[in-house]
């Protein structure tokens, strides 16, 4: 895979997702924007990130997938104002921090968001 293909992969990612953690190398999480920068500069880290992108993997274990999804959701939710924003048709209402707590403590509510986030991460890696 050439660097151009990585650039093309990056360009297909919606802007709002370019700064969310997506790839794990040596225990560190990287966003698509960071990955593109490393690949473009041809660093050793860039080679490892490019290898993940080529093999369409963002982590290597189930635990890493779960962890990445939680990191991404935390990135999104922890910056939001603390007011009721999300509700369900089972009568539950959440502020962003309350939803984040559900996610971090692995409740069924939180797991619904984590599972959907993993689906989205896989779709990004597949370039769809």
């Amino acid at each position: 895979m050439t660097k151009q293909v990585v650039t093309n992969w990056y360009n297909r990612i919606p802007d709002m997702e370019k700064d969310l953690a997506l790839l794990i190398v040596d225990g560190n999480a990287y966003t698509p924007r960071m990955a593109l920068s490393e690949v473009t500069r041809g660093t050793p880290l860039g080679n490892k990130l490019q290898n993940l992108i080529e093999t369409k993997k963002f982590g290597t274990t189930y635990e890493q997938e779960q962890l990445l999804a939680k990191i991404r959701l935390k990135q999104v939710l922890e910056t939001k104002p603390e007011k009721p924003m999300f509700a369900t048709l089972s009568g539950k209402v959440f502020t962003p921090s309350q939803l984040l707590k559900e996610i971090e403590t692995n409740t069924s509510i939180g797991q619904q968001w984590v599972n959907e986030e993993i689906k989205r991460m896989k779709a990004i890696m597949q370039g769809t």
Partner: protein
């Protein structure tokens, strides 16, 4: 008594944040209703268990579409009053009908029980149905978006499509709304990512059970104004004049 074609019953409770869905449903009905359809909406306090049961029995609607809080076995109406559960004798009221419950979790047990009781179709959700309440109900695209997607099913049924076509339209509407928040006009909204995830979650847990080829209403008919109409009116006026003169 068999369900009656072209008859629709909508249940729209308003309390406990249900107004977020019910106001969108009302707009969808207004925008898509066709001439000749008999449409009843039970809104707010009228969306109570007694009235809902009474209207189901007397109207025998082909389509029963309801917003409400729910769980795997139970659907509730206004003030979270229980209307029906998976063991209820009321299930027989759904025989021969298309049932759509915009409600959490009801596709797990209640939906299959409704189908077992003889309903033709059940449309619902097998996990939590999410929506955004960051703005007042009905005021922004953000609060409407999850409901615009799910109620495309009702919109298409009102337009005369079959249940299978309406389901296909609903899934396409989910994709359209996701695109709106991802790369469309809504991509710069502060909660665009959360709205995208809400729509993705709702889409993935939406559940269609039953027959795909049921059409509850006739396809919309548009009657073009005949170019002969002005002549016909003139002729009618002339005939009336002649008649008046002849009977003087």
């Amino acid at each position: 008594m068999p369900a009656i074609q072209n008859v629709f019953l909508f249940i729209a409770p308003m309390g406990h944040y249900l107004n977020y869905g019910s106001v969108v449903l009302h707009d969808i009905i207004s925008a898509n209703r066709q001439a000749g359809q008999i449409i009843t909406e039970l809104i707010g306090d009228a969306a109570n268990p007694e009235k809902t049961e009474e209207q189901l029995k007397t109207l025998q609607p082909k389509v029963f579409s309801a917003v409400g809080h729910g769980n795997s076995t139970t659907y509730t109406v206004e003030s979270t009053a229980k209307f029906v559960d998976a063991e209820s004798p009321k299930l027989e009221l759904f025989k021969d009908k298309i049932v759509s419950l915009t409600s959490c979790l009801t596709a797990i047990e209640l939906g299959p029980a409704i189908i077992d009781a003889g309903a033709l179709v059940f449309m619902g959700y097998k996990d939590e149905f999410w929506f955004y309440i960051g703005d007042e109900a009905g005021t922004t695209h953000a609060v409407q978006s999850p409901f615009l997607a799910t109620f495309q099913f009702e919109a298409s049924l009102l337009r005369g499509k079959t249940t299978g076509e309406a389901r296909k339209d609903q899934l396409a509407k989910y994709d359209e709304e996701i695109q709106y928040w991802t790369v469309g006009a809504g991509k710069d909204h502060p909660e665009s990512l959360e709205l995208t995830r809400i729509l993705e979650i709702n889409k993935s847990v939406s559940t269609f059970l039953g027959e795909p080829d049921v059409a509850p209403s006739l396809p919309s008919i548009t009657m073009p104004i005949s170019p002969m109409l002005p002549w016909a009116i003139s002729l009618l006026a002339l005939s009336a004049m002649i008649y008046r003169e002849a009977t003087k």
